[in-house]
Amino acid sequence: MKKIPFHIYYLVLGLLLLLSLVVSTRVGAVSIGYDHILLFLRHALSGTPGNSIEEQLFLQIRLPRVLLCALTGASLSVAGALMQALFRNPIVEPGLVGTSSGAALGAAFVFVMGKSLSGAWVDALGPFLLPLAAFAGGGLATWLVYRLSSVFGKVNVNTLLLAGIAVNALAAGGTGFFSYIARDPQARSIVFWNLGTLSGADWTNTGVVAFSTVVGIGLSLQYSRALNALLLGETEAGYLGVHTRRLKTRILLLNTFLVAVATSVVGVIGFVGLIVPHILRLLKSSDNRWLIIGSALLGAILLNVADMLARVIVAPSEFPIGVITAFAGAPVFLFLLIRAGRQQQKGGFYA
């Protein structure tokens, strides 16, 4: 509703993202100078890497971590925007509707039981086994919450929250069980499953998340107009030529794809998908094309800033990133919940 055109916003967000990436590669347990960063990048691009510890640290740890963080932020935020459009409710996000915890359960299963799984299909899947299991878990949990909360075709916020709590508790219980019986120290880490961590970043998993993020966002953009039409209601969207049932299935799958792949690598990071679309709506508009592109940029920026804080506050150790996103996100959630409660008194909403 504000007069500033979209491309100015995209430009500013893009520049901020670049800035946050550069600053983020610099700070941490070891601080790296900008001149060194430039030098290392030039080395890497020309294929003549140096051997200093600082350069190894930068190329093998810091850089993939920063990129993974940005990609995860983008994925989670776009998924949040998709789910809010689908449920036609601003309090929905992948953590609430079970996608994250379901994905974590799927990932935990492979993490812990992976060594006991055997057969040709396990070998064939290779690095994709983990994200696939996360996808299956996240998809199942999301589908369950959606079905439970949309009895008689009408989504009720209270039922949605309760269904979310139940399914999340179930998934978290399963994840707790797997981490309890695990021998691998990383799988035992409660921090990874509940609060997320980016410390496991390497080029392989960053590559996998890059793929899901780019493909997922690209596909999401195809549906931005249909999701806009859906804001008017299902019948109205149908009259505008939208195949609503097909759209709903595809959006649920797309959300699961984006969230599950990221979650299988970084664990559960909550509230990003809630705050980012909300800020964008306040900034400019509820147009889903804007929300999707904007969420990709702003989500990457905000999660990067959160990760920077996580590394700086208690350096050389690191703070769980999920704590930071929860502190920032939970108040926003409560605010939206109170407002939704008031709207609910005037009648429910449809989905």
Binding site: M1, L232, Y239, S286
Partner: protein, 258 residues
């Protein structure tokens, strides 16, 4: 020309629409009236393609409804429903542009923008373009929704005609806006468009309809110009005692309920 043959809609064992055959030609405003639960809305949903009928045929200019894909249908047929509820802020411009969604694939063309500007002018909402829909009054919202439906079928498709259906369009409006909207709807009659409205208020229907269709228990019980309306028919359909008085200045009857 919209032709409906032996249309039946069932929910469970109940026939909501019970074997209706009727056709609607361009050139007049067809108004469907009937008591609550008479199947008006389901009937409208069925012939507009939103509800798959249990039996029967619906053809648009001789082409069966099931031969159109969704986009193709959306380019020739628009439906204005009762005020949809919105939960997110959207500007008036964004909502009116939704009417053009079936017509462009990525970005609206100059033509799409021109059409939106024209319909906004026609409904005198051009000043509201940047306003948040949620802050509008009921009357303004209604006009925005009407603009969106009108933008959707602004152009005549290469083959066949245009269809605009209004499902209880004035139910939440005060008298001033009710008349404003129906006057505008009636003015479209000249534009070679099949125009059908479902209305609750019999007097409004009498004033604006070119043809009236009375429904009860899923059937069409009477149809024709407003001369068919008698106290007996009103009693038969709505189960209320009514008298028809002649308005000496309006030149048409007024219904008074006992």
């Amino acid at each position: 020309m919209l032709s409906i043959e032996n249309l039946v809609c069932r929910i469970g064992d109940r026939k909501i629409v019970d074997d209706i055959s009727i056709s609607f030609a361009p050139g007049r405003l067809h108004v469907i009236v009937g008591p609550n639960g008479s199947g008006k809305s389901t009937f409208l949903k069925a012939f507009s393609g939103e509800w798959t009928p249990s039996a029967g045929h619906v053809t648009y200019d001789g082409v069966g409804l099931n031969h159109f894909d969704r986009i193709d249908l959306a380019r020739r047929r628009a439906v204005m429903t009762q005020l949809p509820e919105l939960h997110f802020p959207l500007s008036v411009d964004e909502i009116v542009m939704m009417g053009r969604y079936p017509h462009f694939s990525l970005r609206p063309s100059v033509r799409d923008r021109t059409i939106c500007r024209k319909v906004k002018g026609l409904l005198s909402i051009d000043g509201l373009g940047d306003r948040d829909y949620l802050t509008l009054s009921g009357g303004e919202r209604q006009r925005v929704q009407f603009a969106r439906a009108l933008a959707q079928v602004w152009e005549t498709p290469p083959k066949g005609g245009r269809y605009l259906f209004l499902d209880e369009p004035v139910s939440s409006l005060d008298i001033h806006y009710q008349h404003q909207l129906l006057r505008l709807a009636r003015s479209l009659v000249k534009e070679n468009i099949v125009l059908i409205a479902v209305l609750h208020d019999l007097n409004l229907a009498l004033q604006y309809a070119g043809r009236m269709v009375f429904m009860k228990h899923g059937r069409v019980v009477a149809e024709g110009a407003r001369e068919i309306v008698t106290a007996k028919l009103v009693h038969e359909v709505f189960d209320v005692e009514a008298r028809l008085l002649d308005d000496p200045e309006g030149g048409r009857p007024v219904i008074v309920f006992a």
